[in-house]
């Protein structure tokens, strides 16, 4: 085991049967639960996460599952994994590499072993290493016996058999054992990392409250795993991870998509507008619809549209009617929404488009993450059609950034993109719960005064046109996608008017920058050798890599952009304070292109498009090579 070790010496800790096994304190552990998609790995991982969050560790998770609901059992394509990193200090990513791998079958071993740390713990269900499963996974020889796992601490447990035994005792038949093997493994992990299974037991009791048999079966499997680990002497010690030294406050765990949904509801409340959410199911954005649909008592109207185009155009209609209209989608959906968003640009109505980006092009890899739709958000429409773009940086930040999207959209009467991604959306972290008083005041009032009203008369500060909604006496007006006259809004093909309107629409977006706070540079705000500029979900990996480089005395700083259109006014000046600029992105260089175009800066890229997030060490290495030659 090579978790990061604390300095303390091992201490004694009694196990259930009174035997003493040493408890070794460690600072950080990364576990990956891997199995067939039918093996319940996401559930095991989520339960471990919940228990760990309640213990006060800092944590970050990375669920990684196939797009197929059930790929053929035992195949490489069907492997599903859930990684959690937890620690006694502040961490920003789910870990570069697992130090513990739970492999429920040979395919899971095959797919995930290359990531396991050297010397790491490998727990396998030995019962599944049959000839059939081995060949489905493409193993010519059994890795458990051919010596290929010599570099790891392999713990072979007959999980299937032991689960069946435990389940048979309580249900009189082992038929339900296959579905609870994950809980047996979870029980082992709970013991190994010194966490009480009580939270999961309560969860089982709640989930199956109408089926006492299932409660008994699942509880038996979990406890059997826990007891087995405690008594079978498969481990020489177990580990404890102290609470993280988090600032005082009340915390919960939250995924990016949950925080996005909360942000949507909150933006509705804060603007004081009725909330309309229109969406078409698409991975990985559907969870936002699933989160909002049951929250009807918060007034949200969710509309599952017939297609992506209907989702955005229904949002435009709802916005015309005065609602805060929000939709969420992923790349293929955005490709279809382009014309509808262009309409919102033209009629200057607020709409929030939450993009949960995934690997493309086309259908690409729906469950894998990427940042490759930045330029589509900025430019993916016909004509000169500028829109605002913001991007959250952590799961919890999805909440705050969604509220910011609501502020921008309604203040400037513009479609506003919110660029999350699959990694942020599904990733989980502890989140400091804000009090309602901390939330910004972004109340909106619709125009009601007919005096001096025309549809395109503008607020001199924001350049926004008035939001006058049907039902308001005296403000009857017609809008549409045809070019219109400045101020009056009548249809116009006048050449100078078109120039003026194109300029006005661009200026309106540019003026959003007037409302932004100064950008914050982590590191040396006065300048230095290297500035790492990122956006979105790479925040964790960049932050950790920059911290590491700085701890070695290197002159490296980090600027993470939440506002991508418009860019904050001080960005150009900040870039100028550094000798070099490095832009890590999970695309082929989209922000880099924008920075180079906007500021004529020789920004270099660190780019990766594998469908996986950056590892800290990849960014760290990028920093080191960028620094070479400096000074």
């Amino acid at each position: 085991m090579t978790p990061e070790r604390a300095a303390n010496r091992p201490m004694e800790h009694p196990t259930q049967d009174g035997k003493k096994l040493p408890v070794e304190p460690v600072d950080r552990v990364t576990i990956r639960f891997a199995g067939d998609s039918g093996d319940g790995m996401q559930l095991a991982g989520t339960q471990f996460t919940d228990t760990t969050a309640l213990l006060g560790n800092d944590l970050a998770t990375f669920p990684d599952y196939p797009a197929e609901i059930r790929a053929p059992a035992g195949t490489l394509a069907g492997v599903s994994a859930f990684q959690i990193s937890f620690s006694s200090y502040d961490i920003h990513t789910p870990g570069d590499q697992p130090s513990v791998l739970v492999a429920m079958n040979p395919a899971a071993l095959k797919v995930n072993l290359p990531d396991l740390e050297e010397g790491g713990i490998l727990l396998v269900d030995a019962d599944t290493f049959t000839q059939g499963n081995l060949s489905k996974a493409g193993y010519a020889k059994n890795p458990l016996t051919d010596g290929s796992l010599a570099g790891y601490r392999v713990i072979q447990v007959p999980i299937t058999r032991l689960t069946t035994n435990a389940v048979t005792e309580v249900s009189g038949g082992g038929s339900m054992a296959a579905q609870s093997r994950n809980l047996f493994s979870l029980g082992i992990m709970y013991w190994l990392f010194d966490r009480d299974p009580i939270h999961t037991i309560r969860w089982i009791e709640g989930k199956f409250k109408n089926n006492p048999d299932l409660v008994a079966v699942n509880r038996a499997a979990l406890q059997a795993g826990y007891n087995y680990a405690a008594t079978a002497e498969i481990f020489t010690s177990h580990y404890s991870i102290k609470k993280a030294a988090t600032p005082p406050g009340t915390y919960r765990k939250i995924s990016g998509n949950e925080a996005t949904a909360l942000g949507i509801i909150t933006a509705g409340k804060l603007t004081g507008l009725p909330l309309f959410y229109g969406a078409y199911p698409i991975t990985p954005a559907s969870d936002i619809l699933h989160a909002l649909a049951p929250l009807k008592n918060y007034g949200v109207l969710t509309f599952q549209a017939e297609d992506e185009i209907a989702a955005i155009t229904a949002c435009v209609g709802a916005s015309f009617g005065g609602a805060l209209a929000v939709c969420a989608t992923a790349g293929p959906g955005l490709a279809l929404k382009g014309e509808g968003i262009g309409l919102a640009v033209m009629v200057e109505l607020p709409v929030i488009i939450a993009m949960i980006q995934r690997s493309g092009p086309s259908t690409g890899m729906p469950t894998k993450s990427e940042q490759s739709d930045l330029l589509m958000a900025l430019y993916g429409r016909n004509g000169e059609a500028p829109a605002a773009v913001v991007a959250p940086s952590t799961p919890g930040d999805c909440f705050w950034t969604m509220i910011e999207a609501g502020r921008i959209a309604t203040t400037y009467m513009t479609p506003t993109f919110f660029l999350s991604d699959g990694y942020l959306g599904n990733g989980v972290e502890p989140w400091a719960i804000p009090s309602l008083e901390e939330l910004p005041d972004i109340r909106v009032t619709h125009r009601s005064d007919p005096e001096g009203y025309t549809p395109y008369v503008r607020d001199p500060r924001t350049l926004a046109r008035p939001w006058a909604i049907p039902g308001t006496p005296g403000l009857e007006h017609r809008i549409g996608g045809l070019e219109k006259n400045d101020i009056t809004g009548t249809v116009s093909y006048d050449p100078t008017n078109h120039q003026r309107m194109v300029d006005l629409r661009a200026q309106k977006i540019a003026r959003i920058a007037d409302s932004l706070p100064p950008s914050q540079v982590d590191g040396d705000s006065q300048g230095g050798d290297l500035l790492v500029v990122g956006w979105g979900s790479t925040y964790g990996a960049i932050t950790s890599a920059v911290e590491r480089a700085r701890s070695e005395g290197r002159s490296v700083s980090h600027l993470h952009l939440r506002h991508l259109n418009p860019l904050p006014r001080d960005v150009g000046e900040i870039l100028g304070r550094f000798d070099k600029v490095l832009v890590p992105e999970l695309n082929t260089g989209q922000l880099r292109m924008l920075l180079r175009a906007n500021y004529l800066v020789d920004a270099k890229g660190l780019n990766k498009v594998t469908g996986r997030p950056f590892m800290i060490r990849e960014v760290y290495r990028g920093i080191i090579s960028a620094l070479e030659g400096t000074r």
Partner: protein, 340 residues
């Protein structure tokens, strides 16, 4: 192009209140003028303040309509008017929403939305101007052009079978389906009144003449001289009779329609309120020259509207929870911990 002066409930409106200052830009002689005139005539009779009325259109000749009606209006993008109307009506169910579309806008590029808005039964009125051709893009065949039609884009004749808008509406479970014609203003006005009075999606196919690209396309049965022999005016509760000199009726043999002598046994009586849509569908399939073309209300059934159900679920959830949700509780979530 804002409205002038405030209007409110109870005020008596006239046709003039619904005319905008915009110059109407349809071709002289276009059937759309007649439709606009009847709409502007019917609107003041509905007893709805004009600020509560909204016209939403897509793209095409017909879709210029909102610019000419002095209410709220939204000229959206090609084919998407039903979806825009859905969002608007759900956001504010008190509005009286009209969708104006055409055979290309509504049945080609926007066919999907049209079907779904009807099955959902939003309480809106859809006017589909069917002129059998693309007018605005200057004369290509449309989804309702007859097989073999020669146009700029089909010089050797189309090789596509047309869709029947009324049949589509019935198949999509629109709760009100009617057909009328630009050349019969009285019937047109009456049909608009019926559509407006119906709660739920009212679909009205309006046979319209495009004088430039498809002139007289409906004349074989709609021309004044032949109309009374070749049009079947559907009247609720009345026998399905047509033909001024030689009255005949419609009956069925098995599922197939047939023409019978007036008052012979088996002649059908028109019942648009039947829950089963078979008869309405059969009627929608009557085409000239084999049969007279029916005009009137094909189907009128009561069904809860989408917006009623959507808001009903919200109200119900609030009621069940004993009041509107508490934002603080929601943000806090089900399980949290405190660090001191």
């Amino acid at each position: 192009m804002s409205g002038k002066g405030a209007h409110s409930e109870g005020e008596v409106l006239t046709k003039a209140d619904f005319i905008t200052d915009q110059v109407v830009r349809w071709c002289p002689g276009c059937g759309d003028y007649s439709i606009l005139a009847q709409v502007q005539k019917v609107l003041p009779t509905l007893g709805i303040p004009k600020e509560k009325i909204v016209f939403i259109s897509g793209i095409g000749c017909s879709s210029r309509f909102p610019y000419y009606v002095n209410t709220y209006g939204f000229h959206t993008i090609h084919g998407r008017a039903p979806a825009v109307a859905t969002g608007l009506k759900v956001a504010n169910p008190e509005l009286c929403v009209w969708v104006v579309t055409g055979d290309g806008d509504g049945l080609s590029i926007g066919g999907n939305h049209l079907i779904h808005v009807m099955r959902r039964n939003l309480d809106i009125n859809i006017l589909l101007f069917n002129n059998g051709v693309y007018g605005l893009t200057k004369g290509q065949y449309s989804p309702t052009s007859e097989f073999g039609k020669v146009t700029k884009s089909s010089p050797a004749g189309t090789i596509e079978s047309p869709v029947n808008p009324t049949s589509i509406a019935i198949a999509a479970e629109a709760s009100f389906v009617a057909r009328t014609a630009d050349v019969d203003p009285r019937h047109l006005a009456w049909t608009l009144e019926q559509a407006a009075a119906h709660k739920g999606t009212s679909f009205v196919e309006i046979l319209q003449n495009c004088i430039i690209f498809n002139d007289k396309t409906h004349d074989p049965f709609l021309a004044r001289s032949v109309r009374h022999d070749r049009v079947l005016y559907l009247e609720e509760g009345k026998p399905m009779l047509f033909g001024s000199e030689h009255p005949r009726g419609i009956a069925t043999e098995g599922f197939a329609p047939k023409i019978v002598e007036a008052n012979s046994s088996g002649m059908l009586v028109h019942e648009p309120g039947l829950q089963n849509p078979s008869q309405a569908y059969m009627l929608s399939q009557l085409t000239y020259p084999e049969f007279p073309v029916p005009l009137g209300v094909f189907r009128r059934v009561a069904r809860p509207t989408y917006e009623e159900l959507a808001h009903g679920q919200v109200d119900e959830a609030i009621h069940r929870a004993g009041g509107p949700g508490d934002l603080g509780q929601l943000i806090k979530g089900k399980s949290s911990w405190t660090v001191t």
